[in-house]
């Protein structure tokens, strides 16, 4: 299976702490994207990182990509209760028209 793997499956932290989620994949990718999902509905795009990039930032979010280890991490700094959601990584492989292969997701709970 080309499906990415994420860990941890679930993460519970206190407000103000940092949350780190990891994603691994199997073969060379075009890009890797992180999404957030609240209550099992639509996916909200967070960050896209291309295979030739190593790190990207967006507000309190930091994404790193290590192509040698075929892995990525999403760091949420100074977490808030509103960050409580499921987070998914998804990879797009070359020559596959951009279709995304998703990981199983990490369920993040931020306690006030």
């Amino acid at each position: 299976s080309q499906q990415g793997e994420e860990d941890p499956q679930a993460l519970s932290i206190q407000e103000g702490e940092n949350a780190t989620m990891n994603c691994s994949y199997k073969t060379s990718i075009n890009n890797l994207q992180w999404y957030r999902q609240n209550s099992g509905r639509g996916l909200v795009h967070l960050i896209l990182i291309r295979s030739n990039e190593r790190e990207k930032h967006s507000g309190r979010l930091r994404v790193t990509l290590d192509t040698s280890k075929k892995s990525s991490s999403l760091l949420i700094t100074a977490s808030r209760a509103a960050d409580t959601a499921s987070y998914f990584c998804a990879v797009a492989y070359y020559n596959q028209g951009g279709k995304l292969i998703f990981g199983q997701g990490t369920e993040l709970s931020v306690k006030p």
Partner: protein, 115 residues
């Protein structure tokens, strides 16, 4: 501008009936994707359309599933003779793949329940 829209939001049907799910992509986006999210299988790719090219149907789980995209815009996913295992949230996404855009923008999904 408007994002990706899907209809209906929720659909309850009886086993054996056919259903049609609709997706309106972002205007100007050349590529449209269907995904399914179910408890046992997570998020899985179903089919995608890119411009006038033949669609990639490699993710469709059975021949009961089909999709079309008319005029390069609106898409309809049809499930014939629905089964209980078809119950899931069906998500549509669009992007301007090949036109410098790689981010996929998702609609709110259609929650399908087959009784």
């Amino acid at each position: 501008g408007a994002g990706v829209s899907q209809s209906p939001s929720n659909k309850v049907t009886e086993k054996g009936k056919d259903v049609e799910l609709r997706c309106d992509p972002i205007s100007g986006h050349t590529a449209l994707y269907w995904y399914r999210q179910s408890l046992g299988q997570g998020l899985e790719f179903l089919i995608y359309f890119q411009g006038n090219s033949a669609p990639d149907k490699s993710g469709l789980p059975s021949d009961r599933f089909s999709a079309e995209r008319t005029g390069g815009s609106v898409s309809t996913l049809t499930i014939q003779r629905t089964q209980q295992e078809d119950s899931a949230v069906y998500l549509c996404a669009s992007t301007n793949w090949g036109g410098g855009e790689e981010t996929q923008y998702f609609g709110p999904g259609t929650r399908l329940l087959v009784l």
